[in-house]
């Protein structure tokens, strides 16, 4: 595949790794924010190519992992409604609510359908005028324009039977929340390239300046991530704290202006509760007044919400990069991908699931010791 395969060249990757090894003189902790970056790191073994001193920490970059349990419960309640066709990205189906997940709703007869795009959900709404079609709109800023377009089109087409359960989250407030925590030990960030493709770089400059951390916007192929790490280490060694764009083939400084305009029209900024972290001010998106009629929260009524179950799950600490999955007493025993206690074990990008799938048994062998977690 063009613009994919060439960024997976093993020899080029090894060259970057060697360059990083020559460059690093001190230990550095770098946090990659996005689940897509984690996936690539673990799949290609990028962390194993890095020198001892560089540790990669997985951040809260998985919208699936951070969707509030209360929201998942709302989704489950809507999906269980016999009038509803509930459409969702595949990732959300196994995220646990207070006592079950969307897949269980499907098993009990709920019409839950996986879609590739909210625009597919729109097509389902057009094809099923007698049913209510609800789309579970989660995601970072990358997904905001397409979710916005779905609602925008629903309004233009007068599709009365379409609505969205919105739980968008935004990256910069999360980075700030992590950096402002006293326990934070992160020296530099790898920011999410596709989020920045939409939003641009500007929001990150004040963060880099205030907390004096370099922020590297990277793509998702191995060479992108390795170059991003190199550029980050180079800044750290030099004591700089700038925002740099590694992913220039996709990211422009202002992002995608059309997309930003669409987001601004359809959404408004709200506080949002991040599972495992808590509420972060101005960190979420909800439908604006002009599109409020398409808000599933307004269209459906909900039973009294169960308070989130207190559980052993330490995903909050993991999402903040403070603890490793192996430090969780339930890891691999009471909490597994089959019986997850929290979302970081369910999502394929969740730190716990990644560690369990790729590294759990290697923990016993020193050669396989991971510097990622």
């Amino acid at each position: 595949m063009k613009y994919v395969d060439e960024y997976r060249d093993p020899r080029a990757a090894e060259k970057f790794a060697r360059a990083i090894r020559s460059l690093a003189t001190r230990p550095w902790k770098i946090m990659e924010v996005c689940g897509g970056q984690t996936h690539a790191i673990v799949r290609f073994g990028i962390d194993r190519m890095l020198p001892e001193q560089i540790s990669l920490i997985h951040g809260p970059g998985c919208p699936v992992c951070v969707t509030a349990q209360e929201t998942v419960d709302q989704a489950i309640e809507i999906a269980a409604n016999p009038e509803v066709i509930f459409c969702s990205f595949g990732d959300m189906l196994r995220v646990p609510g207070s006592n079950r997940d969307l897949l269980a709703v499907k098993a009990s007869g709920g019409d839950v359908r996986i879609v590739y795009s909210p625009l597919d959900a729109l097509a389902i709404a057009r094809a099923n005028p007698a049913r209510q079609v609800v789309f579970f709109a989660v995601g970072f800023e990358t997904t905001a324009p397409v979710n916005a377009m779905a609602v925008y089109q629903a309004k233009r087409q007068g599709l009365r039977n379409f609505s969205m359960l919105v739980s968008h989250v935004m990256v910069p407030p999360a980075i700030e929340a992590i950096l402002s925590s006293r326990e934070c030990g992160v020296d530099g960030f790898l920011a999410a390239g596709h989020v920045c493709t939409v939003m641009g770089l500007e929001e990150y400059r004040p963060i880099a300046a205030k907390y004096q951390v370099p922020i590297l916007v990277t793509g998702f192929e191995p060479l992108d991530i390795l170059q991003g790490i190199y550029m980050c280490v180079r800044q750290l060694e030099a004591g700089s704290a700038r925002v740099e764009n590694q992913y220039s083939r996709a990211v422009r400084a202002n992002g995608n202006l059309e997309a930003r305009r669409l987001i601004a029209e359809v959404f408004r900024v709200v506080p949002r509760k991040w599972r495992g972290i808590g509420e972060i001010d101005r960190s979420g998106l909800a439908l604006s007044a002009a599109y409020a009629e398409f808000d599933a929260e307004g269209r459906f009524s909900f039973a009294r919400q169960a308070a989130p179950k207190a559980s052993e799950c330490i995903s909050g600490s993991i999402l903040k990069g403070l603890k490793k999955p192996s430090e969780c007493p339930a890891f691999g025993t009471r909490c597994t991908p089959e019986m997850p206690l929290g979302a970081t074990m369910v999502s394929s990008e969740g730190a716990c699931a990644a560690y369990f799938r790729y590294r759990q048994r290697s923990a016993a062998s020193p050669a396989g010791a991971s510097r990622h977690f």
């Binding site: 093993p10 689940g35 990732d91 997940d101 897949l103 499907k106």
Partner: protein, 347 residues
């Protein structure tokens, strides 16, 4: 090595005691259902061998006997239909025991309201497939269920075939040092089905790889290749098949990801949908575990049937039940059994 302490009850708590789709998905939950419910109930040497077909001594010969049920939706897809799958699937399970497939039975569960024309197409397809596979359909049954109780058509086929006297093919024979061969490129069936699914569909010229597998296996046997085990890849893909063998044979398996062939369309679809091709369904591919001295010759033979056949790895004694894949940069990752079906993702 770590105990399998993860599974504590027959059905994971999250299911609340009902059957989930994942129980049919070819992954961990299906295996758990089989091991915790079916095997203890019916335990005998044949079942416990856990191979694709049971091989039983009857009189002076050995017969392989197998059954499979087809519930695919949509009923028709590029490259095949439920009927073709029903014939080849069972024929292939016999071939995996080294048996020449001979006779099939077919049981149909039809939904009230199914157009007879549809059934006709399926039956014609089965006749054609049976002809190509060299088997006869000798007995059958038909039932009809109320509208809404079945996905149009469900087909169960059972098959028997004779196993040659020197043939001993089962997970028990797999040994450290064995070469692991793959009969062709992966993922065609699963991605083809995805391409026609509502909500995930896309345009492609890709077709299912649904095909009878006795010809290449017969060729291997005729050439005197020392085959220890065979396993056809179905739901759950290559990774699941390797996991089953690793666990049943009590060995470790190590493969090179780069050696597993994928055609362009399968690779692209997996990128877009966030799927791992090693877990995508196949219907015309198998893994062969052969004595290392025969690996090269076996590969030559397989390539005459499918040019994309490859040598993908070896059997070791590192960690019984462990399947490892060396990735594009040479770093190993563990190929675990998935808990349920692989879902397309956006993350």
């Amino acid at each position: 090595m770590a105990q399998d302490f993860r599974l504590r009850c027959p059905l994971p708590a999250a299911t609340g005691g009902t059957i989930q789709l994942a129980h049919g998905g070819g992954g961990r939950m299906m295996r758990s259902l089989i091991e915790r419910l079916f095997l203890p109930a019916f335990s005998n040497g044949y079942l416990d061998a856990k191979h694709d077909s049971a091989v039983m001594r009857i009189g002076s010969g050995r017969i392989a006997f197998t059954t499979d049920t087809y519930v695919v939706s949509p009923l028709f897809f590029p490259g095949g239909d439920i009927g073709k799958l029903a014939v080849y699937g069972t024929v292939n399970d016999l071939a995996m025991a080294g048996a020449r497939p001979s006779y099939l039975s077919a049981g149909f569960i039809l939904e009230e309201g199914l157009p007879i024309e549809t059934l006709e197409s399926i039956v014609h397809s089965m006749r054609e497939a049976a002809g190509i596979a060299g088997v006869e359909l000798v007995t059958g049954d038909t039932k009809v269920v109320d509208r809404g109780k079945g996905d149009g058509v469900f087909i169960n086929t059972a098959g028997i075939g004779l196993v040659g006297s020197e043939v001993e093919i089962s997970p028990a024979r797999v040994a450290p040092g064995d070469a692991v061969l793959l009969s062709g490129d992966v993922g065609r069936h699963g991605i083809t089905i995805m391409s026609v699914r509502e909500g995930l569909g896309f345009e492609t010229s890709l077709e299912s790889d649904c095909a009878p597998l006795w010809p290449p296996i017969s060729a291997l046997l005729e050439a005197g290749i020392e085959i220890h085990c065979l396993r056809d890849l179905t739901r759950g893909g290559l990774a699941s098949a390797l996991n089953e063998i690793a666990t049943d044979a009590g060995v470790g398996i190590s493969i090179e990801e780069a050696a597993v062939a994928k055609c362009e369309a399968v690779a692209a679809a997996c990128e877009i949908l966030g799927l791992d091709p090693l877990y995508v369904a196949n219907e015309g591919r198998f893994a062969a575990f052969v004595a290392p001295r025969h690996a090269e010759r076996a590969l030559e033979i397989l390539k005459t049937h499918e040019t994309t056949a490859s040598l993908i790895g070896t059997v070791g004694n590192r960690g019984p039940g462990l399947v490892e894949a060396r990735g594009p940069f040479g770093h190993p990752r563990i190929l675990d059994l998935l808990s349920g079906e692989q879902m397309p993702r956006i993350c």
